[in-house]
Symmetry: C2
Protein backbone atom coordinates (compact mmCIF):
# COMPACT_ATOMS: atom_id res chain seq x y z
CA UNK A 1 0.00 0.00 0.00
CA UNK A 2 1.04 3.60 -0.44
CA UNK A 3 2.77 5.60 2.25
CA UNK A 4 0.66 7.15 4.99
CA UNK A 5 0.86 10.90 5.46
CA UNK A 6 -0.03 12.57 8.76
CA UNK A 7 -0.37 16.19 9.79
CA UNK A 8 0.25 17.40 13.33
CA UNK A 9 -2.93 18.63 15.01
CA UNK A 10 -1.19 20.63 17.74
CA UNK A 11 1.86 20.93 19.99
CA UNK A 12 2.73 19.52 23.41
CA UNK A 13 4.44 21.86 25.88
CA UNK A 14 6.28 20.42 28.88
CA UNK A 15 9.01 21.26 31.39
CA UNK A 16 11.36 18.89 29.51
CA UNK A 17 13.48 21.02 27.20
CA UNK A 18 16.07 18.35 26.38
CA UNK A 19 15.64 14.64 25.65
CA UNK A 20 17.82 13.76 28.63
CA UNK A 21 15.51 15.67 30.99
CA UNK A 22 12.54 13.38 30.28
CA UNK A 23 11.68 10.99 33.12
CA UNK A 24 11.21 7.36 32.22
CA UNK A 25 8.03 7.33 34.29
CA UNK A 26 5.94 10.47 33.97
CA UNK A 27 3.58 9.43 36.75
CA UNK A 28 6.46 9.60 39.24
CA UNK A 29 7.78 12.97 38.11
CA UNK A 30 4.31 14.41 38.53
CA UNK A 31 4.88 17.38 36.20
CA UNK A 32 2.19 19.23 34.31
CA UNK A 33 2.20 20.21 30.67
CA UNK A 34 -0.06 21.85 28.13
CA UNK A 35 -1.48 20.49 24.95
CA UNK A 36 -2.33 23.08 22.35
CA UNK A 37 -4.75 21.83 19.72
CA UNK A 38 -4.68 23.96 16.57
CA UNK A 39 -7.84 26.04 16.22
CA UNK A 40 -8.96 24.23 13.08
CA UNK A 41 -9.29 21.00 15.15
CA UNK A 42 -10.49 22.54 18.43
CA UNK A 43 -14.13 21.57 17.88
CA UNK A 44 -13.01 17.93 18.17
CA UNK A 45 -12.33 18.51 21.88
CA UNK A 46 -16.04 18.75 22.66
CA UNK A 47 -17.13 16.17 25.29
CA UNK A 48 -13.56 15.45 26.41
CA UNK A 49 -13.95 17.33 29.70
CA UNK A 50 -15.59 14.46 31.57
CA UNK A 51 -12.64 12.11 31.13
CA UNK A 52 -10.07 11.94 33.92
CA UNK A 53 -7.32 10.64 31.62
CA UNK A 54 -6.51 10.84 27.94
CA UNK A 55 -4.16 9.00 25.62
CA UNK A 56 -1.94 11.25 23.55
CA UNK A 57 -0.17 10.14 20.40
CA UNK A 58 2.70 12.27 19.20
CA UNK A 59 5.58 12.37 16.78
CA UNK A 60 9.08 11.67 18.11
CA UNK A 61 10.42 14.58 16.05
CA UNK A 62 14.00 14.29 17.30
CA UNK A 63 14.37 10.63 16.28
CA UNK A 64 16.31 9.99 13.08
CA UNK A 65 16.03 6.61 11.41
CA UNK A 66 15.23 3.51 13.43
CA UNK A 67 16.76 0.58 15.24
CA UNK A 68 15.31 -2.91 15.68
CA UNK A 69 17.07 -3.25 19.01
CA UNK A 70 17.76 -0.38 21.36
CA UNK A 71 18.78 0.16 24.96
CA UNK A 72 15.84 1.23 27.10
CA UNK A 73 15.95 3.56 30.12
CA UNK A 74 15.66 0.69 32.55
CA UNK A 75 18.15 -1.90 31.35
CA UNK A 76 21.71 -2.00 30.06
CA UNK A 77 21.03 -4.63 27.43
CA UNK A 78 19.40 -3.78 24.10
CA UNK A 79 15.82 -4.98 23.68
CA UNK A 80 13.64 -5.50 20.64
CA UNK A 81 12.22 -2.10 19.69
CA UNK A 82 8.61 -3.39 20.01
CA UNK A 83 9.34 -4.49 23.59
CA UNK A 84 10.33 -0.95 24.65
CA UNK A 85 8.73 2.49 24.43
CA UNK A 86 11.71 4.46 23.06
CA UNK A 87 11.65 6.81 20.07
CA UNK A 88 13.83 4.99 17.50
CA UNK A 89 10.97 2.88 16.16
CA UNK A 90 10.18 2.18 12.51
CA UNK A 91 7.29 4.65 12.80
CA UNK A 92 8.18 7.45 15.22
CA UNK A 93 4.92 7.50 17.14
CA UNK A 94 4.94 8.02 20.91
CA UNK A 95 2.09 7.25 23.30
CA UNK A 96 1.43 8.50 26.83
CA UNK A 97 -1.49 8.27 29.22
CA UNK A 98 -1.87 11.61 30.98
CA UNK A 99 -4.25 13.11 33.50
CA UNK A 100 -6.68 15.63 32.09
CA UNK A 101 -6.65 18.45 34.63
CA UNK A 102 -8.48 21.18 32.82
CA UNK A 103 -9.55 22.37 29.39
CA UNK A 104 -9.47 26.04 28.44
CA UNK A 105 -10.74 26.33 24.90
CA UNK A 106 -8.21 24.62 22.66
CA UNK A 107 -5.62 24.09 25.43
CA UNK A 108 -5.59 21.08 27.74
CA UNK A 109 -3.68 21.22 31.01
CA UNK A 110 -2.41 17.71 31.74
CA UNK A 111 -0.62 15.89 34.55
CA UNK A 112 2.01 13.12 34.50
CA UNK A 113 3.53 14.46 31.31
CA UNK A 114 6.66 12.68 30.00
CA UNK A 115 7.03 14.27 26.58
CA UNK A 116 9.69 16.60 25.17
CA UNK A 117 8.68 20.27 25.00
CA UNK A 118 7.56 21.25 21.51
CA UNK A 119 6.57 17.74 20.41
CA UNK A 120 4.05 17.61 17.52
CA UNK A 121 0.68 16.19 18.57
CA UNK A 122 -0.94 13.55 16.33
CA UNK A 123 -4.06 12.44 18.18
CA UNK A 124 -5.98 12.53 21.44
CA UNK A 125 -8.16 9.62 22.54
CA UNK A 126 -10.25 9.24 25.68
CA UNK A 127 -8.76 6.76 28.17
CA UNK A 128 -11.62 4.35 28.88
CA UNK A 129 -11.46 1.90 31.76
CA UNK A 130 -13.11 -0.97 29.88
CA UNK A 131 -10.88 -0.53 26.82
CA UNK A 132 -7.57 0.42 28.37
CA UNK A 133 -7.32 -0.98 31.90
CA UNK A 134 -6.22 -4.59 32.03
CA UNK A 135 -5.69 -6.87 35.02
CA UNK A 136 -3.19 -9.65 35.66
CA UNK A 137 -0.48 -7.84 33.73
CA UNK A 138 2.87 -9.43 33.07
CA UNK A 139 5.47 -6.76 32.38
CA UNK A 140 8.03 -8.93 30.61
CA UNK A 141 11.64 -7.76 31.00
CA UNK A 142 10.35 -4.73 32.94
CA UNK A 143 8.98 -6.86 35.77
CA UNK A 144 10.57 -5.80 39.02
CA UNK A 145 12.33 -2.80 37.45
CA UNK A 146 9.56 -0.27 38.00
Amino acid sequence: MEKIVLNPIGVIYSPYKRVKDIPCQGYKANKTGEILVYKEYAEGLKDIDGFSHIIILYYFHKAKGYLLRAKPFLDDKPKGIFAIRGPHRPNHIGLSVVKLIERKGNVLKVGDIDVLDGTPLLDIKPYVSKFDVRENIKNGWLEGKL
Copy 2:
Protein backbone atom coordinates in the same frame (compact mmCIF):
# COMPACT_ATOMS: atom_id res chain seq x y z
CA MET B 1 6.66 21.48 10.14
CA GLU B 2 6.62 19.19 7.15
CA LYS B 3 4.22 16.32 6.75
CA ILE B 4 4.95 13.04 8.51
CA VAL B 5 5.24 9.91 6.41
CA LEU B 6 4.70 6.44 7.87
CA ASN B 7 5.15 2.97 6.44
CA PRO B 8 3.10 -0.02 7.59
CA ILE B 9 5.23 -2.58 9.44
CA GLY B 10 2.78 -5.46 9.05
CA VAL B 11 -0.86 -6.52 8.76
CA ILE B 12 -3.54 -7.37 11.32
CA TYR B 13 -5.77 -10.36 10.59
CA SER B 14 -9.06 -10.77 12.43
CA PRO B 15 -12.46 -12.44 12.13
CA TYR B 16 -14.00 -9.05 11.27
CA LYS B 17 -14.27 -8.87 7.50
CA ARG B 18 -16.57 -5.85 7.37
CA VAL B 19 -16.54 -2.63 9.38
CA LYS B 20 -20.02 -3.39 10.68
CA ASP B 21 -18.84 -6.71 12.13
CA ILE B 22 -16.40 -5.07 14.53
CA PRO B 23 -17.50 -5.16 18.17
CA CYS B 24 -17.35 -1.89 20.08
CA GLN B 25 -15.64 -3.72 22.92
CA GLY B 26 -13.13 -6.31 21.84
CA TYR B 27 -12.67 -7.67 25.34
CA LYS B 28 -16.31 -8.79 25.38
CA ALA B 29 -16.27 -10.45 21.96
CA ASN B 30 -13.23 -12.45 23.04
CA LYS B 31 -12.02 -13.19 19.50
CA THR B 32 -8.46 -13.93 18.52
CA GLY B 33 -6.49 -12.46 15.66
CA GLU B 34 -3.03 -12.59 14.18
CA ILE B 35 -0.52 -9.84 13.74
CA LEU B 36 1.95 -10.38 10.96
CA VAL B 37 5.08 -8.27 11.28
CA TYR B 38 6.96 -7.96 7.98
CA LYS B 39 10.20 -9.92 8.04
CA GLU B 40 12.36 -6.81 7.77
CA TYR B 41 11.02 -5.67 11.18
CA ALA B 42 10.74 -9.08 12.86
CA GLU B 43 13.92 -8.69 14.89
CA GLY B 44 12.16 -5.85 16.75
CA LEU B 45 9.86 -8.46 18.37
CA LYS B 46 12.67 -9.82 20.51
CA ASP B 47 11.83 -9.63 24.26
CA ILE B 48 8.12 -9.11 23.65
CA ASP B 49 7.19 -12.65 24.73
CA GLY B 50 7.15 -11.89 28.45
CA PHE B 51 4.40 -9.28 28.16
CA SER B 52 0.81 -10.40 28.76
CA HIS B 53 -0.63 -7.46 26.78
CA ILE B 54 0.51 -5.20 23.98
CA ILE B 55 -0.70 -1.93 22.52
CA ILE B 56 -1.15 -1.98 18.78
CA LEU B 57 -1.33 1.15 16.64
CA TYR B 58 -2.79 0.78 13.19
CA TYR B 59 -4.05 2.72 10.22
CA PHE B 60 -7.81 3.08 9.75
CA HIS B 61 -7.40 2.35 6.05
CA LYS B 62 -11.12 2.48 5.24
CA ALA B 63 -11.61 5.97 6.66
CA LYS B 64 -11.81 8.78 4.14
CA GLY B 65 -11.36 12.36 5.31
CA TYR B 66 -12.25 13.36 8.84
CA LEU B 67 -15.00 14.78 11.00
CA LEU B 68 -14.60 16.92 14.12
CA ARG B 69 -17.82 15.46 15.54
CA ALA B 70 -19.02 11.96 14.90
CA LYS B 71 -21.56 9.51 16.29
CA PRO B 72 -19.90 6.82 18.41
CA PHE B 73 -21.05 3.21 18.79
CA LEU B 74 -22.51 3.85 22.19
CA ASP B 75 -24.52 7.04 21.84
CA ASP B 76 -26.94 8.58 19.35
CA LYS B 77 -25.54 12.09 19.68
CA PRO B 78 -22.37 13.18 17.87
CA LYS B 79 -19.36 13.70 20.13
CA GLY B 80 -16.11 15.55 19.62
CA ILE B 81 -13.79 13.25 17.64
CA PHE B 82 -11.13 13.39 20.39
CA ALA B 83 -13.70 12.16 22.93
CA ILE B 84 -14.40 8.99 20.93
CA ARG B 85 -12.29 6.19 19.46
CA GLY B 86 -13.79 6.08 15.97
CA PRO B 87 -11.85 6.10 12.69
CA HIS B 88 -12.78 9.47 11.14
CA ARG B 89 -10.08 11.37 13.03
CA PRO B 90 -7.76 14.01 11.57
CA ASN B 91 -4.98 11.39 11.64
CA HIS B 92 -6.41 7.93 10.99
CA ILE B 93 -4.56 6.11 13.75
CA GLY B 94 -6.32 3.41 15.76
CA LEU B 95 -5.22 1.98 19.09
CA SER B 96 -6.15 -1.25 20.84
CA VAL B 97 -4.89 -3.08 23.90
CA VAL B 98 -4.81 -6.80 23.11
CA LYS B 99 -3.73 -9.95 24.92
CA LEU B 100 -0.48 -11.46 23.68
CA ILE B 101 -1.24 -15.17 23.53
CA GLU B 102 1.74 -16.51 21.62
CA ARG B 103 4.53 -15.51 19.29
CA LYS B 104 5.61 -17.73 16.41
CA GLY B 105 8.49 -16.02 14.67
CA ASN B 106 7.10 -12.87 13.09
CA VAL B 107 3.45 -13.67 13.86
CA LEU B 108 1.72 -12.77 17.12
CA LYS B 109 -1.47 -14.53 18.12
CA VAL B 110 -3.57 -12.05 20.10
CA GLY B 111 -6.80 -12.04 22.08
CA ASP B 112 -9.53 -9.41 22.48
CA ILE B 113 -9.02 -8.19 18.92
CA ASP B 114 -11.38 -5.45 17.69
CA VAL B 115 -9.73 -4.49 14.41
CA LEU B 116 -10.87 -4.94 10.80
CA ASP B 117 -9.24 -7.83 8.94
CA GLY B 118 -6.38 -6.65 6.74
CA THR B 119 -5.66 -3.46 8.67
CA PRO B 120 -2.13 -2.04 8.20
CA LEU B 121 -0.05 -2.23 11.38
CA LEU B 122 1.94 0.87 12.39
CA ASP B 123 3.49 0.01 15.76
CA ILE B 124 3.55 -2.42 18.66
CA LYS B 125 4.34 -1.26 22.20
CA PRO B 126 4.49 -3.29 25.39
CA TYR B 127 1.55 -2.63 27.73
CA VAL B 128 3.18 -1.74 31.03
CA SER B 129 1.19 -1.60 34.25
CA LYS B 130 2.99 1.44 35.65
CA PHE B 131 2.67 3.41 32.41
CA ASP B 132 -0.73 2.35 31.17
CA VAL B 133 -2.93 1.29 34.08
CA ARG B 134 -4.61 4.20 35.85
CA GLU B 135 -6.93 4.21 38.83
CA ASN B 136 -9.89 6.39 39.71
CA ILE B 137 -10.91 6.68 36.09
CA LYS B 138 -13.76 8.94 35.00
CA ASN B 139 -15.14 7.79 31.68
CA GLY B 140 -16.84 11.03 30.65
CA TRP B 141 -19.90 10.57 28.43
CA LEU B 142 -19.20 6.79 28.38
CA GLU B 143 -19.81 6.44 32.10
CA GLY B 144 -22.57 3.91 32.69
CA LYS B 145 -22.75 2.93 29.00
CA LEU B 146 -20.19 0.11 29.13
